[in-house]
């Protein structure tokens, strides 16, 4: 890990000045924001980009001949190009704008899934999936009489390779896997898992909600068929995300929602669908959000995603060390390959009480099941406290968390 050298290259205080919310106070204390796996804060550039759309070029896209519509369309489509480069895709039309990961997974389940999955088929997921990468597949399986299979994880929170291999077979139609777990921090060996899935003849979908904020993703290097991401977890706005799909698959898939923009011609007898990516983008899209996402990616390009990731790895290492030193604290998720997340429980103290008392100190983190109830069941806990890092967090904030936790234990322990 190059975290030590990265720490010296990374001017975290300069980065913090880019995020206006980080100067605010909460309950009289400086905000310590450690809930980045839920959503990240936004740099001024992203806020300005959204505001700029509404102040300067607000209009609908792909339909007007006037100046504003042209400018809005250009900004919207140039953001698509940025997302394409960000994910390493070959062509802009392989990038479908969606609301986020949840909508992206649902789109694939309901179009590709309905057209390609039938009774007796299997869909394979892992035991560490977020609800958004479980429920759409359950719904599809229920509708089609297919079976949902789950690749188990070990105590550290890693997919067990032999078990995964043994669950792949001729009936496996699709494998859906998270790139980086939101509740455990585990980074899955997705390239290898995709290779094995393809060898079994299955199509692959990777949930990149957490991963894209911490590491360079290249969908062609991974050779995945689908990859989904949310803008708000990568310093962009809420309500915008992207689905990458291989052009060949997207072309063959039936459209999803019907409406404007996804058509070439409509009569009451017959509709001809538009080409990619518009076939999957019915209705007026989230134009401001897409432009904001483009600005977030430009910001990341400027600061360097890989340098940020190395800095965060240093924080994770430091945080793990100082939290482990607290008696009665147990970290849930100790995979060899993990990033940016420390989930933990403290003996005899419920995570919600911890969360409320830390909030009183200005410390924001997540308590609960993190939309991964099966993961909580796997570890026999109802909930955990989750501290998750972004590029603007500091060691001083980790220290503030430790001081806060000692206070909690003093009061409630």
């Amino acid at each position: 890990m190059s975290s030590v050298s990265a720490g010296t290259l990374w001017d975290v205080h300069a980065i913090r000045r880019d995020f206006p919310i980080l100067t605010r106070k909460v309950h009289g204390h400086p905000l310590v924001y450690l809930d980045n796996a839920a959503t990240t804060q936004k740099p001024q550039e992203v806020i300005d980009a959204e505001l700029g759309f509404y102040r300067e070029i607000c209009s609908n896209v792909h339909r007007g001949v006037h100046e504003l519509s042209g400018r809005a369309t250009e900004a919207f489509e140039s953001s698509r190009g940025r997302v394409r480069r960000f994910l390493g895709a070959a062509d802009d039309h392989e990038i479908i704008f969606v609301r986020g990961v949840t909508e992206g997974v649902n789109l694939v389940a309901q179009t590709w899934g309905r057209a390609n999955v039938s009774a007796g088929d299997e869909i394979l997921i892992t035991a560490m999936e977020h609800h958004s990468n479980i429920v759409p597949w359950q719904m599809l399986c229920q509708e089609k009489g297919a079976t949902l299979k789950v690749a188990p994880i070990n105590d550290a929170g890693e997919v067990i390779p032999e078990a995964y291999a043994s669950l792949l077979g001729p009936k496996t139609r699709l494998v859906a896997m998270v790139h980086q777990s939101n509740s455990l921090g585990t980074i899955n060996p997705v390239k290898k898992m995709i290779e094995m899935a393809h060898a079994a003849g299955a199509v692959t979908l990777v949930d990149g909600a957490q991963a894209v904020a911490h590491r360079k993703v290249d969908v062609r290097d991974l050779a995945t068929d689908f990859y989904v991401m949310s803008g708000h977890k990568v310093y962009g706005p809420t309500g915008i995300g992207a689905l990458y799909g291989r052009a060949e698959l997207l072309d063959a898939m039936p459209p999803w929602q019907g409406g404007g923009d996804m058509i070439l011609s409509v009569t009451f007898e017959r509709t001809t669908y538009n080409e990619l990516p518009f076939k999957f983008e019915a209705g007026t899209p989230n134009v401001a959000g897409a432009i904001g996402l483009g600005a977030a990616i430009a910001y990341l390009d400027g600061v360097g995603l890989e340098t940020a990731g190395a800095y965060e790895a240093g924080l994770l290492h430091y945080g793990t060390e100082v939290l482990t030193a607290i008696p009665d604290l147990r970290i849930i998720g100790t995979a060899r390959e993990k990033a940016s997340v420390i989930s933990f429980v403290v003996d005899d103290i419920h995570p919600h009480d911890i969360g409320t008392i830390l909030d009183g100190e200005g410390i924001a983190l997540r308590t609960g099941h993190h939309c991964t109830q099966p993961v909580m069941d796997r570890y026999g806990v109802a909930a955990t406290v989750r501290c998750s890092f972004a590029m603007y967090n500091t060691r001083e904030e980790v220290d503030a968390l430790v001081v806060g936790l000692r206070k909690v234990i003093e009061v409630l322990g």
Binding site: H352, G368, A382
Partner: protein, 153 residues
Amino acid sequence: MTPELRELYQEVILDHGRRPRNFRTMDASTHHADGFNPLCGDKVHLKLVVKDDIIQEAAFQGQGCAISTASASMMTEMLKGMDTTQAMELAGRVRALVSGNDEEAAAVRERVGKLSVFSGVREYPARVKCATLVWHTLKSALNNGSNEPVSTE
């Protein structure tokens, strides 16, 4: 800690949270119900013995935070000897205490006995359901005997 937090985590609540009373199974019950808060995973299983409309026994099991455990513990203590109408009225007053407006809360504060320690919960909207889960469960047990689990959502 802030004064609001001290008000929330009063010594009485911490004590009941650490050492809940009536936290046990009960073989012969006349009414029971399950409560579940899907947002945080808190679960409570409540059992009552009601004879001639009087609550003779109340016991619970489950898992939850300090607030929800203390709420269940103190509720089971208070219910004993009440008739079912009194119990339902008390449930209504607790709801007003922790989630009503200022006026409603002030109006019931003197009429909830030792449960007034929960008045600090009003400052924490995210925690109201922790305090009320067991009271919803009580209503379900008394209304339905034993039926579908009650959920806070």
